[in-house]
Symmetry: C2
Subunit: 646 residues, 2 copies
Amino acid sequence: MDLHPTPTAAPVVPSRGRLRPLTLGEVTVTGGPLLRRQQVNGTATLPHIEHWLEREGWIANFDLAAAGQLPAGRRGREFSDSEVYKYLEALAWEIGRTGDADLERRFHAVVARVAAAQEPDGYLNTEFGRPGQQPRWSDLPSGHELYCIGHLLQAAVARLRTRPDATDGLVEIARRAADLVCTVFGPDGLDAVCGHPEIEPALVEFGRATGDERDVAQAALFVARRGHGVLPDGWLGRTYYQDDVPVRSAQVLRGHAVRAGYLAAGAVDVAVEQGDDELLAALVAQWDTTVARRTYLTGGQGSHHEGEAFGDDWVLPPDRAYAETCAGIGSIMFSWRLLLARGGARYADLIERTLYNIVATSTSADGTRFFYANTLHQRRPGAPVPDDRVSPRASSTQRAPWFAVSCCPPNVARTLASLGTFLATVDDDGLQLHQYAPSTIATSLPDGTPVTVEIDTEYPRSGLVSVRIGADADRPWTLTLRVPAWAEGARVVVRSSEVTEQPAAPGTVAVRRTFRAGDVVELHLPVAPRFTAADPRIDATRGCLAVERGPEVLCLESVDLAAATAGALTDVADVRLDPSVPPEESGGDVVVRLRAARTSDRDWPYGAGVRAVADGEAIPVRLVPYHDWAERGPSTMRVWIPVTLG
Amino acid sequence: MDLHPTPTAAPVVPSRGRLRPLTLGEVTVTGGPLLRRQQVNGTATLPHIEHWLEREGWIANFDLAAAGQLPAGRRGREFSDSEVYKYLEALAWEIGRTGDADLERRFHAVVARVAAAQEPDGYLNTEFGRPGQQPRWSDLPSGHELYCIGHLLQAAVARLRTRPDATDGLVEIARRAADLVCTVFGPDGLDAVCGHPEIEPALVEFGRATGDERDVAQAALFVARRGHGVLPDGWLGRTYYQDDVPVRSAQVLRGHAVRAGYLAAGAVDVAVEQGDDELLAALVAQWDTTVARRTYLTGGQGSHHEGEAFGDDWVLPPDRAYAETCAGIGSIMFSWRLLLARGGARYADLIERTLYNIVATSTSADGTRFFYANTLHQRRPGAPVPDDRVSPRASSTQRAPWFAVSCCPPNVARTLASLGTFLATVDDDGLQLHQYAPSTIATSLPDGTPVTVEIDTEYPRSGLVSVRIGADADRPWTLTLRVPAWAEGARVVVRSSEVTEQPAAPGTVAVRRTFRAGDVVELHLPVAPRFTAADPRIDATRGCLAVERGPEVLCLESVDLAAATAGALTDVADVRLDPSVPPEESGGDVVVRLRAARTSDRDWPYGAGVRAVADGEAIPVRLVPYHDWAERGPSTMRVWIPVTLG
């Protein structure tokens, strides 16, 4: 077994662009919360996912297909095949990361079952096309056939880039499916698109990985077709699946948030591969507006439960926030591609925010329970979800082991397993660090200059990131460090033959020199907790403040309120924040001052002078990272804490 | 033709209860906004509805059924039959109100087409039961078969009580359908309920109207069955159709708001007919909590677009408020029944609020355009809806002529046509006035005491309601006047042989005397505009005030903001209210002081010190009644106006 991933062992490897991604072989995460998450993902989440895929019959659907027994025994929703493919993708990256032999065996076993279900012409879907099922491609708006194939291709990309010599056959399965797609939907084929984008980034990446330009051209065709009303005008409108406006003309992400993110990611891929700067500029503008007006403090996107969709600008209610986990992943996909294409700290800022506050929130610390939606305000203690219960997708108020629509768990799994490749990039002139984790990076610049660094940090608990150079260079190169937008007052210290220090404004800071092994570049980020206000056009957070610490959003959870008040206060509705006392660190905790403020019950909740009544002195109460909420049983929680009594 | 409605010409005629409803024959509305609405309803809305029912083929479905041509040509949703029945109900009340001969001809014509579709055993539904259709009763959760029959029964009740000698046959059609329901779903029949309540109040009322106790017993059975998990646990959960908790045990209305209101109304009917005080008390408590915690300032109920449902307590966002028109009507149905059963000004208060701010808002002044959902905050000017366009149910931001799900227009029509009967009631001791409109009331108390009054008022523009007694009484009786909860400082003046005056606290004020013809009782209600705050647990309105005037909620519409600022301000997001200057009346308008307060665009909408910047002096800006908004073309609008800059 080849334990060395290929030079392209990363999920996104554009053929051009401002920055080159690093690979699993070039970046090794050595500690910290990211490594812990990856380890839990590999040892707990992946077995958990396979257990549920088997339990719910979603892998067995392939067996039934192979045995000619469909549709009678088919289980799961029309897109359940995709969860199997995302699981395979996660396995492939995890095998690439760890070389785990047991996972490799599991991978082979599942692929064999998938392979047996593929039809001679390359078609592969357990929901369509057999006697008693709907015909192939007969429900493009909702059938998810191309979406499923997209995830198949992504799994194959992961496999090809981590085990190019593997004998399981997944890449060949994907090749046949992609060929069928290119034939059926090509320039002379069906003038149609899939209701759920995913085939677009998948075809581009599969084309990049296999070198087949036909795949890229097909993705470009799908992107170009969309937005011209090729899909029917359903009850949520064409906006739901981004068929309202051509990608090139759109101003902002809208409609179903996962669809929007995946489409945007695929469109960036197309723009990059085809050198389509106009399309790329349109996507940059869409990202800007979406981030400025349609994104939660957590990085969450998509505020409507109905249609799992973006709302209008400024519609970002903390309660009933949908902020689907998969939409967070779609946002990361979009941002990462723009970062590679254009550079810029803002993309990595949003990725970091989304990783710490959506991805890390969605999955429990033990890796076996998940949020599908990520609310910022929980008003009632949610009911615990039994270990053996499938939950409706977004209605559980506690993390749940599995969902009837279970897109999120395997999506997080594939993201975590490949996340090392999101830490850094290189260009002709040097190395760019985008995310900070204890790690080693060993790569070289295009001219052969070796770039080896060891990163030591307890970030985000500490704001000190220490980068030790591992190899002498014979020419100057540039180490670029991201300074998050919140990190006003950061500075960089270079410890070499002499010690120099410079301020580092938010954005990026570059240190250019002929580095010597042992040189250390320290980035000092101010991670003291801070109050954060919201644009008042986000009406739902008026009169409130949030508390952040570094990249982490904090929250008030009822269990801590009860502890601080000896049980006198148990409802997070019954407090007001004292904004005159900044949040403080105390014994590793972040503490704010809260005052009891109760509102009397009335027959009718409106009238002159209706307001809360403050009671007693403000007392210190601990906040916890939002990603840790609901880990201690049912509770109420809020990210945005009211300041005013009215 | 008998032009005198029967002694029971009212939609709800309980066999017992605290108050007796008056009938179309006893109450004549003689002027004011209610009469205008009724006239527009009769002359514009009813023809408009019939036009669209024909255009969309929903009446023609009955022709196809009679011709044995279903299911091929069937059009509309599975519940489209019910719109035809609600139209018939509206026609029946309107004919009862006006004796209009053309409407009578239309009524006969539509009934004949319905009649032809009824099957020999009484079954009547164009969506189920024929070869090629789903079998009868095979989709009780979503099929709406019993719901449709419920509306058929309500139409028959209206007809029976307004034209008991009519020859159209609608009552007989309904009788056969009700008999079938009682047989199929009776104690020895299917242990099931309909996913959408409506059959419950309909069966009780049909039983009251026809004297058949079997109908009432069947309604009681449906109410008793519900809440025990007799319906499947769908993706919105059993809460969606109130099958989560038995009616008797529930604490609050929840789930789909129209379903919840209709069920509660039917349950009150059952409790009253069966003398079930425990059930009635449970419903009173549910009403109390729903009004105290789950109702918009407008009276709107149901804050979620998803599932058209109630949210948790305090989830009442102004933007994306659903507040479906039909849920408002369901709320009126529930409140009116409790008012008859128990008395109490609060029920009439909510009815008034809902009439002025939901029912009156939903329909355009010309009676041919409708809101399905009634948002309290419109952030973008909505696109105009063409006259010939069917709109998705809740997505139009301007009133629309018709909807794919068009429950609301005929629901409003039937309500307006029968609304005169909601103005007043009698008991053994006198007359209770609940709603104030220019009208004459001629009735008698159980002992024969004649009670005749003429009500003169320009309410709600004026707060003076003048009640002139029309007949001498030979014994004292009590005139009870509702004093709305907002009317602090009201007073009553009695002008008889002498003039007396007394204060009238919110609730009811009673004037008991041996009235003489010509006596006048004046109620003086303070209708000066006022600021209203919201319970701070309704987080979405924090830092805002609304303005009300009498029963009317006012709003800021962008067209008025632009006019007041000569176009300098056009977005209702860009102002702050000066709370130190109370709203004033000026030339018939209500005016508040607003200050320009713009928020700078930023890359990321969160951070320390993010807030609006005030600019210039507060200037007077006109507010308009919420029910008049969007009558002047696309606009932005808000009911809750921010006070604070942050």
